[in-house]
């Protein structure tokens, strides 16, 4: 501790360089935290899903619908407890620049299937009562400034026309990975407007035993195998994972280019730190003459490198954690639950320690091993 003023004084020698070096480390670790959080968020989304929920889609592809009549047949499959359905709507609001998911759902069974959509009881009742009503995630209130009871009009893209809904409920997801910027409206209203009742985009099925998920899914698919519209059933997690795989290339980019950028910045910072230590060979000689031990000098240089690395890391990782949390960032709904995880913080701190070793070890060893008489030539 008594050496701390000496270390601080050395860091203050070239204030601008020290600040820029810390800023470089902070930027690198901010980028690292951001990029890794994209990857972990996509990963978490792929993991989301109750073990007790299955999703059945058209075997030909998710864009093709299934008959609504399947609902009753699905509910009779042994092991099935409840069934609900939904339909992708793809409407847009205003200029359409701010994307958000919106789809038609069977109100009673859907809310029963997803207790994660938390909402006051009176709002839930209002949604169940009024055919043209909709419920929205709380984020849409902030994004568009909507209010409870307000009429909002979406332009249909798949199903053309202006679609006006009255906001009757605002849900808050109990799981951060679940989108908090969806608009859900009633399937019966959807059927009525398109005049083609009896189709569902996909079914969600709750089963009694997660251990039997595979056999129940097979039973469902077998039941419709010879129909005109066969199903493809899997766990909700697998269903979500198929969306996550769409990010495959983005994840690769994050993992490679992002890492390269981060390490390029770290190398520049490490070089600046090594240069700073090299410049002080003469002072190392003076300290050795005074009686400073090799080990003490080694520790002083490492402490200096550590202070720069860890301060930069604290700023970069702290800023990422606080900024994304404070702004409730979710990449316009594409990355719900975007939050820097503790594991990212730990890995970031590990990178900072590696940087400390990479930038401090060589000059620290050099300072420790430098023969005092040779070092003194830098002084004379």
């Amino acid at each position: 501790m008594k050496y701390f003023p000496l270390v601080l004084a050395n860091l203050g020698r070239h204030k601008r360089r020290t600040i820029l070096t810390i800023a470089g480390v902070a930027l690198a670790l901010f980028l690292f935290a951001s990029l890794r959080t994209v990857v972990t968020t996509i990963g978490a989304a792929a993991q989301f899903g109750s073990a007790r929920r299955l999703v059945a889609t058209n075997a030909t592809g998710i864009v093709f619908p299934l008959p609504l009549s399947y609902a009753n047949r699905l509910s009779t499959v042994p092991g099935v407890e409840a069934v609900t359905w939904a339909n992708w709507f793809g409407g847009r609001y205003g200029d359409g620049k701010r994307f958000f998911a919106n789809f038609a759902v069977d109100p009673v069974s859907y809310l029963d299937m997803y207790p994660e959509l938390v909402m006051p009881a009176d709002q839930r009742e209002a949604f169940l009562r009024e055919k043209s009503s909709a419920i929205i995630g709380k984020r849409l209130l902030e994004v568009f400034g909507w209010q409870l009871g307000q009429d909002v009009t979406l332009q249909g893209t798949i199903f053309p026309g202006d679609w006006t809904f009255t906001i009757r409920g605002i849900y808050t997801p109990s799981d951060a990975v679940l989108n908090d910027d969806m608009l859900l409206f009633r399937h019966d209203y959807f059927d009525e407007r398109i005049g083609r009742a009896g189709i569902a985009g996909w079914y969600v099925i709750r089963i009694d035993d997660p251990n039997r998920a595979a056999s129940i899914a097979k039973s469902i698919d077998d039941q419709f195998k010879n129909s005109s519209t066969p199903t493809k059933t899997g766990t909700e997690q697998a269903f979500n994972a198929t969306f996550a795989t769409m990010w495959g290339n983005v994840r690769l980019l994050m993992g490679t280019i992002g890492t390269a950028v981060v390490f390029a910045i770290l190398l520049v910072a490490a070089n600046a730190m090594m240069m700073s230590a090299r410049e002080r060979t003469g002072e190392v000689a003076i300290l050795k003459t005074i009686g400073f031990r090799d080990g003490t000098l080694f520790a002083l240089v490492m402490l200096e490198a550590g202070l720069i690395s860890l301060t930069g890391a604290a700023i970069g990782l702290g800023a990422a954690k606080l900024l994304y949390r404070a702004t409730n960032f979710n990449a316009a709904g594409f990355l719900p639950g975007f939050d820097v995880t503790p594991s990212t913080i730990v890995i970031g701190a590990g990178i900072a320690l590696l940087l400390m070793l990479a930038s401090g070890l060589v000059p620290a060893l050099r300072a420790a091993r430098l023969p005092v008489i040779q070092a003194l030539r830098h002084v004379e």
């Binding site: 004084a9 003076i286 050795k288 003459t289 005074i290 003490t296 008489i373 002084v379 004379e380």
Partner: protein, 229 residues
């Protein structure tokens, strides 16, 4: 018993293929409490001798003993704490750390001793008082004159109360007035505080202040004045 005993010291430098014999069997004794000036032309081995006594360099052969310890046989790991305890060193270029205040520069050797913050503070103030810089303790080296810088360096050399104070051309960078101040200070340290001082110098005025003067030429002792040896 002499404080410094140098016996049959040989020192050879190898520069590329050239072998340079600085000392070939030098023997000197320096009694405790003396103020010794080492004089001689450039390349005569004055600074090398100083480095050998301070344990900054090792003889090729022979022994260097200081205060009973065989410095020439110590490892680098043993020499560092030994220097911290027994040697105060002053350079021609002052060599204060520019990022530290005069106070902090003087405090440096005390960081190596098991002293509390209060004890360190007390000693630093005394040392700065001895060199007459109590009012400059918060100044950085760039805010001090050359003479003040050298006095600060002397305060740093004496603050841990070392056995031996060694100075390499301490007045080489100073004007006449500052030189006299520094030399007067060294004389006072020797006479009032009974410090053993060895100073390498070209300055005849500096030599006049010393109790003993040794003249070296080509690594050999060619003349002595005073009581050494």
């Amino acid at each position: 018993m002499a404080l410094v005993e140098i016996r049959d010291v040989h020192k050879t430098f190898q520069r590329d293929s050239q072998r340079i014999d600085v000392f070939t069997g030098l023997s000197i004794e320096v009694p405790e409490g003396t103020f010794l000036a080492l004089m001689g032309p450039s390349g005569s081995g004055k600074s090398t001798l100083l480095n050998l006594i301070a344990g900054l360099d090792k003889p090729t052969s022979g022994t260097v003993r200081v205060a009973g310890a065989e410095v020439s046989a110590m490892t680098a790991g043993q020499l560092a704490p030994w220097r911290a305890r027994h040697v105060g060193f002053v350079f021609q270029q002052f060599n204060l750390l520019p990022v530290l205040t005069a106070y902090q520069n003087v405090e440096l050797p005390l960081l190596l001793a098991p002293l509390s913050k209060r004890e360190r503070d007390e000693r630093v103030r005394i040392a700065l008082g001895v060199v007459g810089l109590e009012d400059r303790m918060d100044h950085y080296p760039r805010q001090l004159s050359g003479g003040q810088e050298q006095r600060t360096a002397i305060a740093r050399a004496i603050v841990a109360d070392p056995t031996l104070i060694m100075l390499d051309e301490p007045t080489g960078q100073l004007d006449a007035k500052s030189s006299q101040e520094v030399l007067g200070l060294l004389q006072r340290l020797n006479q009032e505080f009974h410090k053993t001082i060895i100073v390498v110098t070209h300055d005849a005025h500096a030599a006049q202040r010393a109790k003993t003067v040794l003249h070296l030429d080509k690594g050999e002792l060619i003349e002595q004045q005073g009581v050494a040896r």
